[in-house]
């Protein structure tokens, strides 16, 4: 019977569907709230008074006795500044080199008329599914002399095969005729790559650039393997000392550190996370366009 009614009233939305839409809206709004609450807690905590926070129990949605003293303590901490500049260096230099290498590699892999094409592609894809693992990787990086060098955060992760395959797939979608006509006009490989193909796959390049930049910004593990000198530590390693190992000497000095340790942790989190969150909305519009699933097929 219900079926009949729905058939007869095509213009009006059936009751069942209306309930579904309502429930869907409510559910999605709830989801947003659940996702945001931990982040709100962090931000509210970072503006709170240290001693007040220590005796606080449960979720925090608003600062307790609004104060900036945690941020002042963060700003006074020299480790944060060196960490910041190390990370910025790695993010900028690293991402530029990542893009350069990935674009060149994807360009060669997506060309058609040379003999070793299949071999090169196989070589790249195989490394996506099989790896030597942590220990040999560490030993290789050490044996090529990158141990205790900031370049150990840039050169070993130069190409992410997953990203490379996405770029390659995007390049395969560019019509050959464009390249051919450019070559007739005497354009070389680099001109074709950077003047013709790259602008055409801008959404993909933007997304990949974001991927690389975010992974540099957030990575800590390789740094913990390869860097021994504190002055080279990227921000995330300093963060780990402050918020995971709760190492007060890294966060601040003196007695204030004890009472403010938690609010300082929150302020550090905010300072370390805000930049990346500010970048991503600008690239968001490319996400759905830039990453189609076909892209990951080998």
């Amino acid at each position: 019977m219900r079926q009949n009614r729905e058939q007869s009233s095509k213009i009006r939305i059936p009751l069942g569907e209306r309930i579904f839409y309502m429930a869907d809206n409510v559910l999605m709004i709830l989801l947003c709230v659940v996702i945001l609450i931990p982040l709100i807690h962090v931000v509210a905590g970072s503006f709170s008074d240290g001693t007040k926070y220590m005796s606080h129990v449960g979720i925090l949605l608003w600062p307790l006795d609004f104060t900036l003293e945690a941020y002042e303590a963060v700003a006074r901490n020299p480790n944060i500044w060196t960490g910041y500049s190390n990370t910025l260096f790695v993010v900028f230099v690293g991402t530029v080199l990542n893009l350069l290498f990935s674009l060149i590699a994807a360009y060669v892999l997506s060309r058609k008329n040379y003999m070793l094409k299949r071999l090169f592609n196989l070589m790249v894809v195989f490394s996506m599914y099989f790896s030597g693992g942590m220990i040999p990787f560490f030993l290789i990086v050490r044996s090529v002399g990158l141990y205790n060098s900031i370049w150990s955060l840039i050169i070993p992760p130069l190409i992410n095969v997953f990203n490379l395959v996405i770029v390659r797939t995007a390049m395969l979608g560019v019509p050959d005729s464009l390249e051919e006509s450019a070559q007739l006009d005497g354009a070389g490989h680099l001109t074709v790559l950077f003047r013709i193909i790259t602008p055409l796959i801008k959404p993909t390049v933007a997304v990949i650039a974001l991927y690389y930049a975010v992974s540099h910004w957030n990575s800590w593990f390789n740094a913990s393997l390869f860097l021994k000198k504190r002055n080279m530590y990227p921000l995330q390693l300093i963060l780990r000392e402050i918020i995971i190992q709760n190492d007060l000497s890294a966060s601040s000095t003196g007695d204030e550190a004890f009472f403010m340790s938690e609010t300082i942790q929150f302020a550090t989190i905010v300072v370390a996370t805000l930049p990346i969150l500010c970048v991503y909305p600008f690239i968001q519009k490319y996400f759905v366009k830039g990453i189609m699933v076909g892209a990951v097929k080998g």
């Binding site: 079926q3 059936p14 069942g16 569907e17 869907d24 559910l27 999605m28 709004i29 989801l31 947003c32 659940v34 996702i35 609450i37 931990p38 982040l39 807690h41 129990v57 979720i59 290498f101 060149i104 590699a105 060669v108 040379y114 070793l116 094409k117 070589m123 790249v124 599914y129 099989f130 030597g132 693992g133 942590m134 220990i135 040999p136 990787f137 030993l139 290789i140 990086v141 050169i155 070993p156 190409i159 070389g188 490989h189 680099l190 975010v214 957030n218 995330q236 963060l239 780990r240 918020i243 995971i244 942790q265 996370t273 759905v288 366009k289 990453i291 189609m292 699933v293 990951v296 097929k297």
Partner: protein, 317 residues
């Protein structure tokens, strides 16, 4: 190489190396362009694979890869008889199966729900908000987790009030480790992982829905007969990739969250490799354990891919 040979089927076949030399002469600019990439792959992707040879040696850094003593399968035998072997295997499989059962479908469901939202504005807001946690670093996520599930943390308090659990530092209790790990994984990645499904959903031909409506299909029928079948290829690809990563469970996060108190449930193969290799400098033994892990990963992708391909579905290759 086969296709290249097929292209030249009319030319009398020359020896491979001669043809290659000719091709390299003709396309030398292309090969030159690829040379740095080739070097990179040899050193940093294939280098470690050859470096796995140390798992058959008693590797001494002073002697290097070539001069260390060969010991055959000693380290593998030691690993299989290691008292922790079964614990590591069990934890690795439990954690990765749990992500497969809980995290994996959550992204698909979220994509379907976002897709059904009638307000574009709300849909954009939900997407923007649900992607945010993905951009937060593992270190920060673990810091937040520590705060929220501590003795007076927000989540501990909510659970204590709702279910009357004893408020303790949940990270120090073995039983809570996997729920915390999975829960935070869903929180962090559900939105981000839904993107591929959303892009697959936008690619569905709207005429299919129009036709179904004319035939009297309601929303539910449309979902079952159009939306989900159109998503299946994407789901299969993501599933194979996920299975391939099964033995590579997010060890960075585990390493930040676990303590010796929770090793019982939290210690996985990769974290064990780290402790034995990086902390105790047992290079060869830990390389052998890592080798085992890599082989299992590879076999898993290979087998799943073969199964889905044989059964007529989508596959990676």
């Amino acid at each position: 190489m086969k296709t290249a040979a097929a292209d030249k089927i009319l030319i009398p076949r020359q020896p491979f190396l001669k043809r290659l030399a000719k091709d390299m002469q003709k396309n030398w600019k292309l090969y030159a362009l690829f040379l740095p990439v080739l070097v990179y792959f040899f050193v940093f992707k294939y280098g470690p694979m050859f470096g796995l040879s140390i798992s058959f040696q008693d590797y001494k850094p002073a002697r290097g890869f070539l001069k260390s003593k060969w010991v055959g399968l000693k380290h593998f035998e030691n690993f299989f008889t290691d008292p922790y072997f079964f614990r590591l295997l069990k934890n690795t499989v439990t954690i990765s199966l749990s992500t497969l059962i809980f995290s994996f479908p959550s992204a698909i469901i979220l994509a379907l729900l976002i897709n059904e939202l009638r307000s574009r504005k709300l849909s954009r807001v939900v997407q923007t908000v649900s992607y945010i946690p993905h951009f937060v670093s593992t270190v920060v996520i673990c810091g937040i987790i520590q705060q929220l599930v501590g003795r007076t943390g927000g989540i501990t308090m909510i659970l204590a009030n709702l279910f009357g659990i004893e408020p303790t530092n949940m990270l120090l209790e073995t039983g809570y480790f996997i729920p915390i790990y999975i829960g935070s994984d869903i929180w962090q990645n559900m939105g981000w992982n839904s993107i591929v499904y959303l892009s697959a959903l936008t690619a569905i031909d709207q005429e299919l829905y129009e036709a179904a409506k004319v035939d009297g299909a309601n929303k539910w029928n449309q979902m079952i007969h159009i939306t989900i079948p159109c998503l299946v290829p994407t789901i299969i690809i993501m599933f194979i990739l996920k299975v391939g990563k099964m033995f590579d469970v997010g060890y960075e996060k585990i390493m930040l969250l676990y303590t010796p108190l929770t090793y019982e449930r939290a210690d996985v193969i990769n974290t064990y490799v780290y402790r034995r290799g990086m902390e105790n400098a047992q290079w060869s033994y830990s390389a052998a354990v890592g080798f085992f892990n890599s082989v299992v990963c590879f076999l898993l992708v290979f087998v799943t891919n073969t199964i889905t391909r044989r059964s007529g579905g989508n596959s990676l290759w």
